[in-house]
């Protein structure tokens, strides 16, 4: 069996942000430096190498890019300044684009104009929906003497739209998940199906990985000087805030978006406050970091890397303003800022699910889950293992 | 005879002047010498009766092994310590019985 070398992949990857993969002379320092590598997953050099020779199939079948948390040790010790971590990042983007059946991700990753166009378009759609709704109702639902948000934007209607939009996004994600699973599991399934039992038995891997991203804490290995649980913890906070908000919106919007003022002790308020504070804190921290480019992983930020924290911050800040204005009883400002809030959140979801951290959040645990499935399949010797080292 | 005495006197004065001129380095070197002599005494005591390896001396004296090795190397160079054979992966060293040289 031989692989035909494809010289074009490396050129394509540059559009996804690979900034030094061509410089790599394959010394292996990065892989040996990385504390997250294992016998089964000796990255990042193997990924760089596959990129250099253009072995697309092997890259698609690999979960290694998702196992990297980009601590930057590989880059700071690289003797050729080949930025191995950034190549891993680029590969994550490239893989996301490959998983996306709509092709939208590829567009967003490789074109800044596409990103702006998408955001503007989605924002406009939301605006049009609002204007349309009020035009249809003869602008009677805009109460201005007091703040009547649920009249301005009837919660069940908004919720229905959120769920509809959510399911569209969910379809895209599920399609990506299926594509990824198919490629990753191919080396062990060899065309056969993995029994459902195994999927279910290994499911806890996904859940813990998703909830904690524990792997991250192994970054920098036993180097105590550099070891930093702070980054992991901040991220963990962000996730809790984000998930809280998501659950509140997706599951309990009718409870969350209300014209009634809950008393101060009410959990609805606390959940909202917690989520908002966490989101503001973490997203601004991330943005400042990216701005200063102090950490290795921020040195080569792409527009899509900025999207998520920017939107989170926008969403949280506008959310707060909606809250404040509502308390203050300023009707128009509440409605306007609410529209902006919704525009931002929808735009965020649309862009993020395809290309941003959302995808990362989603695919990382999935990668670990799929690896666990593979291990289980191998362990039970359901299929012979023909996969060469370093490629799966 | 008196000439010699004169010379010796002159020399003593000169050395004194020099010591004054190089006060700091001389003091520093004297400290070094004192420390070295103390360490050497400890090491030599252990190797006087029977040959010892570097880790044995280090363990018995509490001096780090690499320092023991350096002192033994130095003493070996100037004939104060001899190598007497091997014990496992380590050479055995012994203090030369009588002798300064």
């Amino acid at each position: 069996m031989s692989t035909r070398v494809d010289p074009n992949l490396l050129i394509d990857l540059q559009d996804y942000g690979a900034v030094g993969a061509e410089k790599c002379f394959n010394c292996g320092t990065c892989t040996a430096m990385c504390p997250l590598t294992s016998d089964e997953h000796p990255f990042p050099r193997n990924m760089i190498r596959l990129a250099q020779v253009g072995a697309k199939e092997q890259l698609l079948a690999s979960t290694d890019p998702w196992l990297c948390y980009y601590c930057g040790d590989c880059a700071s010790t690289c003797p050729k300044e080949a930025e191995p971590g950034e190549t891993m990042m680029a590969l994550r983007r490239w893989l996301t684009a490959q998983y996306d059946p709509t092709g939208l991700s590829a567009k967003l990753y490789t074109s800044e104009t596409a990103v702006i166009k998408t955001i503007v378009r989605i924002g406009l759609i939301v605006l049009v929906l609002f204007i349309g709704y009020h035009a249809l109702t003869g602008f009677h639902n805009i109460v201005t003497n007091s703040v009547q948000l649920n009249t301005f934007a009837p919660v069940m209607l908004v919720w229905a739209l959120v769920l509809l939009h959510g399911s569209m996004l969910f379809y895209r994600m599920i399609a990506g998940v299926f594509k990824m699973s198919r490629h990753v599991l191919a080396p062990v399934t060899m065309g056969n199906k993995v029994p459902l039992r195994i999927y279910l038995e290994t499911l806890p891997v996904y859940i813990t990985a998703f909830a904690t991203q524990r792997r991250w804490r192994d970054c920098h290995g036993d180097d105590e000087e550099k070891h930093d649980d702070g980054r992991w913890f901040k991220h963990f906070l962000l996730v809790t805030g984000y998930v809280t908000m998501l659950v509140l919106i997706l599951g309990f919007l009718w409870w969350f978006q209300t014209d009634a003022f809950y008393p101060l002790w009410h959990p609805q308020r606390w959940l909202g406050y917690y989520a908002t504070i966490v989101l503001i804190y973490t997203s601004s921290e991330i943005l400042i970091g990216r701005w200063r480019k102090t950490e290795q992983l921020h040195r080569f930020s792409q527009p899509t890397d900025w999207l998520f924290p920017t939107f989170i911050l926008t969403g949280a800040v506008t959310g707060i303003f909606v809250h404040i204005f509502r308390y203050a009883g300023w009707a128009w400002p509440t409605y306007i800022i609410y529209v902006i809030h919704v525009m931002a959140m929808v735009a965020m979801l649309d862009t993020e699910v395809g290309v941003g951290k959302w995808a990362h959040l989603f695919y990382r645990p999935l990668a670990m889950y799929l690896e666990a499935i593979k291990a289980k399949v191998r362990e039970e010797q359901l299929v012979p293992d023909f996969a060469p080292t370093g490629t799966d | 005879m008196s000439d010699k005495r004169e010379d010796a006197k002159k020399r003593a004065i000169l050395l004194k002047q020099l010591r004054e001129a190089h006060k700091e380095t001389v003091a520093h070197a004297q400290e070094k010498l004192k420390a070295q002599q103390a360490v050497r005494r400890d090491i030599c005591k252990l190797m006087r009766e029977e040959p010892k390896t570097v880790p044995e001396v280090a363990e018995a004296s509490g001096i780090p092994a690499h320092e023991v090795l350096w002192h033994i190397t130095a003493m070996k160079k100037y004939g104060l310590v001899v190598e007497t054979g091997m014990c496992g992966e380590y050479y055995l060293y012994q203090r030369v019985k009588d002798g300064k040289k």
């Binding site: 010394c27 040996a32 000796p42 003797p79 | 350096w70």
Partner: protein, 449 residues
């Protein structure tokens, strides 16, 4: 100290400087050789055996050192440095600072009685700090000149050396630095190189791991005059059973600021591996490398012999070295051939450190160095490799970039040819100091008022 008038001034008494001086002197030119250390011989004299012939290194170096010292056309000036240079018409006037030895160079017989009498041992730089030397000593056993030198900064002025010295007034604590001038029509820079310091790379222990040593240290271990007389590891004197070489530990690594190849490390590692397997027949020797660069005449066969001898070659650049509880260095490396990451414990790890420029002649000689590597810039690198950007100043050996002994010697010969031709051509147009021809010159030392 009298001022000197010579045809050529050679700066640096390593192998390149010595060979240039000899090749010029053999043609009848008068040469002054200035060396900053107390003995000539350079880095080469501290080596054990040399590749690919495995000749005893001192057997090649010492005759040249001896020849330099004995040559009637060479004035050897050790412990001297050029501190200033002036262009004097078409020739140069160099100001030389001779450091005090505190020992009368003319009368010292090199008997080493003072050395034996001295009470204080210091770490010896010649043995990379692992051996000892006295405050007053002959620099090393094959030093040229065989004259003692005293380290005043570590001296307690006890006078014991003076007491045992058999020569009257030989040891002289009152000596001071002396300045004099050398007038030369041409200058050969043979200022050599330095090794990458062992603490250059934090991932390799930052110089703190005792059993991680550089290759020059191993040269001393292997040399019969070395500190231990055997190959022992420095932490506790254990005879190592497993030794690893980490190639490119100072070369081809931008994270260290060195992008270039140091050219000698592959061969010296292979050579040392072969010598070590001779000295320690049971030891396992592993060389971790990226590319084996055995490019010289007879080098590839040397490499193949080493492979046949059972020396293990592992492709992969060592990423990190740490220590286990027993001070055994553990290397972490990706074995490129199969892509697996391994951690392997050895008794001793040798860093194949690279070559760095040791001296920037910009300030004194107005000779520029290359921006990318810091070595002396060659103005016509291909056709006239010994020319610098300063007329009358030539470069030889590793001052012009990493090279091995063979290449240094050849380049030293070339520098002598360039210099000789330059001197000859200047004479032809009547520009030389005295219009002397090399055969008829009889005045060696001329005093300047």
């Amino acid at each position: 100290m009298k001022n000197l008038q010579v045809d050529a001034l050679v700066v640096g008494g390593g192998i390149a400087g010595m060979q240039s001086a000899l090749d010029l002197a053999d043609q009848g030119f008068h040469v002054a050789l200035v060396e900053k250390e107390a003995s000539i011989g350079g880095k080469m004299i501290s080596l054990s055996k040399v590749f690919p012939t495995l000749d005893c290194c001192s057997c090649i170096t010492t005759p040249k050192m001896s020849a330099v010292a004995h040559h009637e056309n060479i004035t050897l000036l050790t412990y001297c440095e050029v501190v200033a240079l002036e262009q004097n018409g078409a020739s140069y006037r160099a100001q030389i600072n001779k450091k005090p030895r505190y020992v009368n160079e003319e009368s010292c017989t090199g008997c080493r009685l003072c050395e034996y009498a001295c009470p204080l041992d210091l770490p010896s730089a010649f043995d990379m700090g692992l051996g000892a030397q006295r405050v007053i000593r002959v620099p090393f056993s094959t030093a040229v000149p065989q004259k003692a030198v005293l380290d005043i900064d570590n001296c307690i002025l006890c006078g014991k050396c003076e007491n045992v010295c058999p020569v009257a007034d030989c040891i002289d604590f009152t000596q001071t630095a002396v300045t004099f001038e050398i007038h030369a029509d041409a200058i050969v820079l043979a200022t050599g190189f330095e090794l990458t310091p062992t603490d250059a790379k934090a991932e390799y222990g930052g110089g703190k791991l005792r059993n991680v040593v550089d290759a020059l240290t191993v040269e001393r271990f292997l040399a019969p005059t070395g500190p231990y007389g055997h190959v022992l590891r420095p932490s506790d004197g254990k005879e190592p059973e497993s030794i690893a070489y980490v190639q490119c530990a100072g070369s081809r690594d931008i994270s260290l600021g060195v992008a270039y190849c140091s050219r000698i490390c592959c061969m010296y590692a292979i050579k040392q591996a072969m010598l070590l397997s001779g000295a320690l027949p049971l030891a396992d020797i592993t060389i971790y490398y990226m590319d084996i660069r055995t490019f010289g005449k007879g080098y590839e066969q040397f490499y193949q012999n080493a492979r046949a001898m059972g020396i293990e070659f592992v492709r992969g650049k060592v990423a990190r070295i740490h220590e286990d509880a027993a001070q055994n260095p553990v290397v972490r490396v990706e074995q490129i051939d199969d892509g697996s990451v391994v951690e392997r414990e050895h008794d001793m790890v040798v860093l194949s450190v690279g070559m760095l420029p040791s001296y920037n002649p910009g300030l004194i000689y107005n000779v520029p160095v290359a921006a990318d590597d810091g070595f002396v810039a060659q103005s016509a690198a291909n056709i006239s490799p010994c020319l610098t950007y300063q007329p009358g100043i030539f470069v030889a050996g590793t001052a012009a970039g990493p090279m091995d002994i063979v290449d240094s010697i050849v380049m030293a010969g070339a520098a002598a040819a360039e210099t000789a031709a330059y001197l000859e051509e200047r004479r032809a147009v009547g520009m030389a100091g005295n219009g002397r021809s090399p055969q008829t010159t009889s005045v060696k030392e001329v005093s300047y008022a």
